[in-house]
Each structure stands twice: as structure tokens, then as C-alpha cells.
């Protein structure tokens, strides 16, 4: 594997996770529990899709085969996506979405913070920019975790269950392979074990405030690195890709 091949894959990981989580968030459009949250969730979707566009466009440049951001988004199959398993989890109820976003935003926050110093200029610039947006996403979701966790008995129970259900997808966020190894040596990527330490601090801080308890580490799913997914990604792609696949000549 060359450095360029590794970097290409790395950009797909970042771009795909933003794209899939962004698509999930956009499913909230007109379904939010209150108008302010409808707007907030779709604003976050917009940021994420913007982040995906930057990374997928860059991936296309690195690959040098003329593929565009749209080609990557609309013309790949499930087994060619490198998004985190967490990003594809279904929205569930508002509490499920809140916990998923919180776990993922905290991951992105700490990841982009260190990637801001990446030796790859584009990754560094993307991280500096995205970090500003993700900071708002993290703040927004963390406030809701506290409000729901430290809310009524019912809301507490519901989000504790969301936490317990989603926890087994968090191991996947921090797995690494040869791509990481090569890019860490080049000063481009970062050691996800370090990111995990910071991520855990944030998770614990918010859980404490929210009077929620951290689930026990038990079985953890993995898949992201090998483009292996849960049954949910295919359904998500079917909806996202329908129009450009059914009408390949459509312009908008």
C-alpha cells in the first residue's frame, strides 16, 4: 500500500461517516419533536454533509480517476463505504438520536482536534474548519443528554437504554489497521487510542452530570475498517441513492 492509497482510504472514512450521519440527521427534517429541534437537527445534517463533500472531493483528487463527490455518494455499494457503524444506527426516538449524536460528536471533536495538526494540509484545514462546527454539535447533544438523563424518571430510563444499546458500536470508532499505521508514521493520521482517552473523559463528564451510568464494556461490533456494515446501511443507501440511480441523467 502506498501513502496515497492509504490517504485515499482515510478520506473515505472521514467523508463517509459525515455523509451517513448527515443523511440520518436529515431524516429528522419535519419530524423533530419541536420546531427548534427540527431546525437544529437539520442544521447539523447540513454541516455534516458539507464536511462529507470536502472529504469525498479530496478523495477523488487523490484517487485521480475523475470520480466526484457525487460518484462516491451515489454510485458505491454498501461494501464500499467506510463509515463508522455508529453513524448508520437508525434514529429511533429523539433520545436515541441524541445519544448517538453525542457519542459521535465527542468522537469527531477529539479526532478533529488532533487532526488539526496533520501533516496533510487538506486534512488539517478540514479538521480546523470542521472542529468549529462539531463543537456546536457536541454542545447541543451534551445539553440534551443532561436534560433527558437528569429529567423525568421516564426520560432517564429511555436514554439510559439508548446508551446501553449504542455502546457496543463505539469500539469500532477506535479500531485501526495498516492504513492508520502507515499514516501515523507520516504524521498524517493520529493514534485513535489517544483519541479514545479524551473521548472517554468527555463521555464520563457528561454522564455524571446527566446522572446516567456508563455501560459495561462487553461485546463490541467491528466493521468500519473493512466496509462491513449492519443491515441498516443498505436501507439508508437505497433511499439516498434512489434518484441518481433511477435517473442517472438528472441534473439539479
Amino acid at each position: 500500500m502506498t501513502k496515497e492509497e492509504a490517504l485515499f482510504n482515510y478520506c473515505l472514512r472521514l467523508g463517509d461517516s459525515s455523509l451517513i450521519l448527515g443523511q440520518r440527521m436529515s431524516e429528522w427534517c419535519s419530524n423533530g419533536p419541536i420546531i427548534e429541534e427540527d431546525i437544529a437537527l437539520t442544521n447539523i445534517a447540513l454541516d455534516l454533509i458539507g464536511q462529507a463533500r470536502t472529504m469525498l472531493t479530496y478523495a477523488g483528487q487523490l484517487e485521480g480517476k475523475g470520480r466526484t463527490e457525487d460518484d462516491f455518494a451515489y454510485k458505491r455499494n454498501e461494501r464500499e463505504f467506510y463509515n463508522t457503524l455508529l453513524s448508520e444506527r437508525p434514529n429511533g426516538h429523539f433520545g436515541d438520536t441524541t445519544i448517538r449524536n453525542f457519542l459521535h460528536s465527542a468522537y469527531y471533536y477529539h479526532l478533529f482536534k488532533v487532526l488539526s495538526n496533520s501533516k496533510d494540509e487538506m486534512i488539517a484545514a478540514h479538521s480546523v474548519k470542521s472542529l468549529k462546527e462539531v463543537t456546536y454539535h457536541l454542545r447541543h447533544s451534551a445539553e440534551w443528554v443532561v436534560r433527558l438523563g437528569d429529567g423525568t424518571e421516564e426520560s432517564h430510563q429511555k436514554v439510559q437504554k439508548s446508551f446501553n444499546d449504542l455502546w457496543e458500536y463505539t469500539g469500532d470508532l477506535f479500531e485501526m489497521n495498516k492504513v492508520d499505521e502507515l499514516l501515523i508514521k507520516e504524521g498524517i493520521a493520529v493514534d485513535l487510542n489517544d483519541v479514545k482517552k479524551e473521548w472517554l473523559k468527555t463521555i464520563n463528564e457528561v454522564l455524571d452530570r446527566a446522572t446516567l451510568s456508563k455501560p459495561e464494556d462487553a461485546y463490541m461490533h467491528s466493521g468500519r475498517l473493512n466496509a462491513i456494515h449492519s443491515e441498516y446501511l443498505g436501507h439508508l443507501l437505497a433511499e439516498m441513492q434512489f434518484l441518481p440511480r433511477a435517473y442517472p441523467d438528472a441534473k439539479w
Partner: protein, 167 residues
């Protein structure tokens, strides 16, 4: 046959600096800090811009407006160069632009509040109401009518208003 560009970089900057923001027409893309540079290389106009937010839907309109403005001046050979670094910040906004925002009914970003505390920071306090000037206001939502704005309400005149948040 290539027509040589009859304007200087400075003149082209002047033309472009008048393009209004499509959503907040009282301020221009220059005042907003989106327009970064104009260059002429080999009879080609290269306009460098930077996005406010990565997903800002206005960016496509900025590009279209730039091309349209240059076409009207007879300039056809145009390249739009999108840069991400240095990352756009509301700190680039001039006092003049902030005043225009306020008059338009949007409370301008409060300088230097961008990177304070991540968790439970709850947005800046004392954001002045653009309607009555009161600072007795409170944050309703971090996310307003567009990605760049937060929603506040005024406790004195009871009006809701947008706050152009700091990033």
C-alpha cells in the same frame, strides 16, 4: 482568439466586493470575509473564496453571482478557487458590517467568544436585542434559521431574534 482582460485585479475586486450575501443582503461577500483574493494569471481571472460553514448552501450562490458579475463585465475566463485555510471566522467581520447586521435585525457576533468552553457554555450572555437594545435576553436554540445563526429571545420587548454566532 482570446480577448485580453481589460481590468486590473483591483478593479475586479471592486466589482466583486459589491455582491451581496444572498441571505443577508445588507452585507457583501467582502464584508463577510468570503471573498479572499483575486488574481489574473495567463488571461484568466482566479477568484479565491472560502466557505463560512462547510455545508453553507449559499456558497453555490456566491459562485454563481461571482461568475454572473464577471460575465457582465465581459470576463469569460474565470476560475473559482475554494480554500479552507485559514478557516473562516466571524472575527473577520468589520465594525461596519456588524452595525449593518444589527440594523437589519440580526444581533452581530460578539468578538472573542468563539472558542470558549465546549460543554455547557450555553452561548454568550448579554447578547443585545437588535430591536430594543436590551441585554436581558436568553438563548433559545444554538441553531437558528441558518447554520450561522442562533435563536435568542428578548425578555424586555419579548421579540425573538437571530444572533450571528461566533465561529
Amino acid at each position: 482568439m482570446v480577448t485580453p482582460i481589460e481590468y486590473s485585479k483591483e478593479q475586479i475586486w471592486e466589482f466583486l466586493s459589491e455582491i451581496p450575501d444572498p441571505e443577508i443582503p445588507v452585507i457583501t461577500i467582502e464584508e463577510l470575509g468570503v471573498l479572499r483574493n483575486v488574481d489574473i494569471i495567463d488571461n484568466r481571472v482566479i477568484v479565491t473564496i472560502t466557505p463560512t460553514y462547510t455545508g453553507c448552501p449559499a456558497m453555490k450562490m456566491f459562485e454563481d453571482d461571482i461568475i454572473k458579475t464577471l460575465h457582465q463585465k465581459g470576463i469569460k475566463n474565470i476560475e473559482i478557487n475554494m480554500v479552507f485555510s485559514p478557516a473562516w471566522t466571524t472575527d473577520w467581520m468589520s465594525e461596519e458590517a456588524r452595525e449593518k447586521l444589527r440594523k437589519f435585525g440580526i444581533s452581530p457576533p460578539i468578538k472573542g467568544t468563539a472558542d470558549k468552553g465546549v460543554l455547557f457554555a450555553n452561548g454568550p450572555k448579554n447578547v443585545p436585542c437588535p430591536n430594543c437594545g436590551s441585554t436581558n435576553t436568553n438563548l433559545k436554540s444554538q441553531f437558528g434559521s441558518t447554520a450561522c445563526k442562533a435563536l435568542y429571545t428578548c425578555n424586555d420587548c419579548l421579540e425573538p431574534f437571530d444572533y450571528f454566532k461566533c465561529i
